[in-house]
Symmetry: C2
DNA sequence: GTATTTCGTCTACTATAGGAGACGATTTTG
DNA sequence: CAAAATCGTCTCCTATAGTAGACGAAATAC
């Protein structure tokens, strides 16, 4: 029935499952009850702006980006101009959702990492998803647990077991890399 | 209190007033009661996704764009990558919200109009706002009521009394123009 | 194999979103 | 100036969003 509610529901479930979070875990992180999240994901309730704001906050995404991702669920072609982009105002880290749909379980994200910037990721963000990192431009020091991989343009790294990771651009110019995700 | 609700409230009121619509008129167009819209604009209620979808529909904007505009209310610098863009899938008409804030009551929008495309606007869309059109690139035939203005790159037109208008690109290449809006 | 934890859904209840219409204030019409 | 339309808010009332906790199923522990 309500097309937008459907899209939101699917996207929220996708974001949650990609992180390997249970309803209880998302409930804790967002402050929304797990019963409500369950209803939203099954389209049995239309979330208020307040609830949507808390959920997108838990995912670390601006609400508009979460919805942009939801709205494009049916498209197969994503023009550059339409791709949801989010820039962290502090570091200048820019994340562009390249893939059109969430269908197919495959998602490409293009990231621009300014010179000298460090971006740490907790292990939980990677659970339940396979991912590879392809360095398009510049240099990238990728720390995976204890190991440090020094990548140059063209290098492609497949991540192993979920571990705390750090993206670091050691050079004087911006680095651009592609992250390819798929569910485990 | 709720920062996102505040931003949404302000943006909805702005979009409504820019069109010169009363609460009753927006209520009719969106199917949301005017009492509810009043509450939302005054932050006395948090709209559900369903209601937000109907409102953005009435404004002719995707929900994600409406929210992107709302979220940027506090920023003063809008990088090209962060500017909300919307492309009409049928015509290829692309609208980019260039201005960072809605404050100052001045808003710039960059439009790309593909070759041969006609975009009509009802008079109601212009009521209560002054606007000028600056043609950046290509050619544009702008029909204002009975009068037709044939614009070339660099030409700038100020709109008069609210009338039904048509944007038409008569050439073989895309046209780019800037729309500058301010409240009457 | 049984016990325990963890998962998502369901039940029962409360808070609030959302709608129909009344109301005073302001503007428009004549 | 008075009458009528129109504005936004406010007052009810109902539908539903949202929460706490119970529940059965499935995975995990031991």
């Amino acid at each position: 029935m309500d097309v937008i509610a459907d899209a939101i529901a699917g996207r929220i479930r996708l974001e949650r499952e990609n992180r390997g979070w249970s309803l209880s875990e998302l409930a804790e992180r967002s402050g929304v009850s797990k019963a409500m999240i369950s209803k939203v994901e099954r389209c049995e309730a239309s979330p208020t702006a307040t609830v949507l704001g808390r959920l997108s906050g838990a995912f670390g995404l601006p609400l508009s980006v979460l919805l942009a991702l939801a709205e494009r669920a049916e498209e197969r072609l994503a023009r550059a101009a339409d791709q949801p982009v989010w820039t962290d105002p502090e570091t200048g880290y820019t994340r562009r959702a390249v893939s059109p749909a969430n269908g197919g379980g495959l998602e490409l994200i293009e990231v621009t990492l300014p010179a000298g910037v460090r971006v740490p990721y907790p292990a939980s963000a990677f659970a339940f998803q396979r991912q590879q990192i392809l360095l398009l431009e510049g240099r990238l020091d990728f720390t995976e647990g204890e190991v440090i991989h020094e990548l140059s343009a063209g290098d492609c790294l497949e991540l192993g077991a979920p571990q705390a990771c750090v993206f670091f651009n050691p050079s004087k110019v911006s680095a651009r890399y592609l992250v390819a995700l798929t569910r485990r």
